[in-house]
Symmetry: C2
Subunit: 297 residues, 2 copies
């Protein structure tokens, strides 16, 4: 299997699982919210977080497919955060992944609830009795705790709060790094960590996975900021220049475009070195880090 094929396979598994899990067939009045959840959750996206989790599970020596319920749970949390971020009272964005945002289609009330529901059902999935076939209850508790912590006040939500508080305000480069560490980094790190928990990785491997995820998480956000300046709106799936318009602090506004591009390269190398030290079979994750560094969408 080529790396490209592996990435597609992971994404297909996630898509299929989401399609089955978010089903309208048992509804008695919940059809509209299921439609709204499906609209955002099945809209595609890179499925980066599930791929990381499944791959870390695989290279820790387990079948990557057993990680699917947790991988999908994490993707649902990522999706809910996008729906709520796009709300009029937050970033007020009209487009996401080239499609109208959730509240533009389903209205604000349903968008709030669809986000709430994706977040809630992520935990239903993480603790589903079926997971006891593949994991010990201790593993499930540990992985679920890792998921909620990284999504919470001292994880993703904390980063989102810092982001809101920093609008129209000058923040330092270090503050921006911290903000992104929480806002984007926390979920990416949790993908790697949970993959290791589910794959029964040892301490050294867990450490390597965290270092890898930390580095690609930051590189990912810097590349996002670069694309918001240099990208092609059509390919990127959202309008170019939106950060500048909102007077958001970005990496290019802090250190300039050239230094940003250098940073992406250095961080990618850091990630590659880290994963090599922890795992024998690291070629997919090396390739993935390199792909992310040159992505245009």
């Amino acid at each position: 299997m080529t790396h490209d094929e592996r990435l597609s396979t992971y994404a297909q598994h996630v898509q299929q699982f989401l399609d089955d899990f978010l089903s309208e067939k048992d509804c008695i009045g919940q059809e509209k919210i299921i439609k709204s959840m499906r609209y955002s959750a099945l809209a595609g996206g890179k499925r980066l977080r599930p791929a990381l989790m499944m791959e870390f599970c695989r290279i820790s020596g387990k079948n990557p497919e057993i990680a699917l319920p947790f991988a999908v749970a994490l993707e649902m949390i990522h999706t809910y955060s996008l729906i709520h971020d796009d709300l009029p009272c937050m970033d007020n964005d009209d487009f996401r992944r080239g499609k109208p945002t959730n509240h533009k289609i389903f209205g604000e009330a349903m968008a709030v609830l669809a986000g709430d529901a994706l977040l809630t059902e992520a935990f239903t999935l993480a603790t589903t009795p079926q997971n006891l076939k593949n994991f010990s209850a201790e593993q499930i508790v540990k992985a679920t705790n890792c998921l909620s912590k990284n999504a919470g006040v001292f994880g993703m939500i904390g980063g989102q709060v810092m982001d809101i508080e920093s609008e129209h305000k000058k923040i330092s480069y270090d503050e921006l790094v911290t903000l992104q560490k929480y806002k984007t980094g926390a979920l990416i790190e949790s993908a790697a960590q949970i993959g290791c928990i589910l794959g029964d990785a040892d301490e050294k491997q867990l450490h390597a996975a965290k270092e890898y995820a930390k580095a690609i998480g930051l590189a990912f956000q810097i590349q996002d900021d670069i694309l918001d300046i240099e990208g092609d709106a059509e390919i990127f799936g959202k309008p170019i220049g939106s950060d500048a318009e909102k007077e958001k602090s970005t990496f290019p506004s802090q250190i300039g475009l050239d230094k940003c591009k250098e940073k992406v390269k250095t961080l990618t190398q850091t990630a590659i070195n880290a994963v090599k030290t922890g795992f024998d079979e690291s070629s997919f994750l090396i390739w993935l880090a390199e792909q992310l560094a040159v992505r245009n969408k």
Copy 2:
């Protein structure tokens, strides 16, 4: 200990636990969201759900205090649902428990995030490693799954969706019962169920607990609708007549005030009978059901 004292003790434990858990002391930029979470979570309220959970744990034969992390998690989920329900795009309410609603104080963006955070951290609490001192990992997985399912699309959120869909529309009495079964009933039932899971109750007890919770859950909502007509705004903590103003389907609008009062009595008796069959020590829960039936706030 009198029943009144027991209820106060449960509420005090919950208040103290919340006060410690939602702490600003480790914050590095999350102070504002913690303030917003505390504003709503520490605002009091009846703490009915935690009391139910802790009491069912106790009369199943365990120390009720071991249930505290789950009781607080459930209360945090209840609180998040109130914050999001009050938002301008939902019920657009300005007052709750006699105080301005969360978004009136902290703004809409922070209110959305505070709700998200309370929901997320509920699961951090449910899966905290400390719980492994008092429960098996299997119990934790089961209780956490019960929590998220009852809060989700086929629980509380599903009921909220039905509620929104039914505004300015004529629905039948049965539809209203179903709506409330999900919207209010699901979390109350989960309190009883989780109390039994944590207290290692047997199947017969679990069944009795569910029947009790189902009956008081519906009685609770009918009493709420009665108070929205006959209550004292000062004591009730929210404006009177708001259901009529929003043209909401309520139990009195469906079957009239007198039949509603009768229903509350019958359901209370059903609850009392149920709990008596399952548990030897049911006097507190009998008293509680009676109190709820005559409450004015």
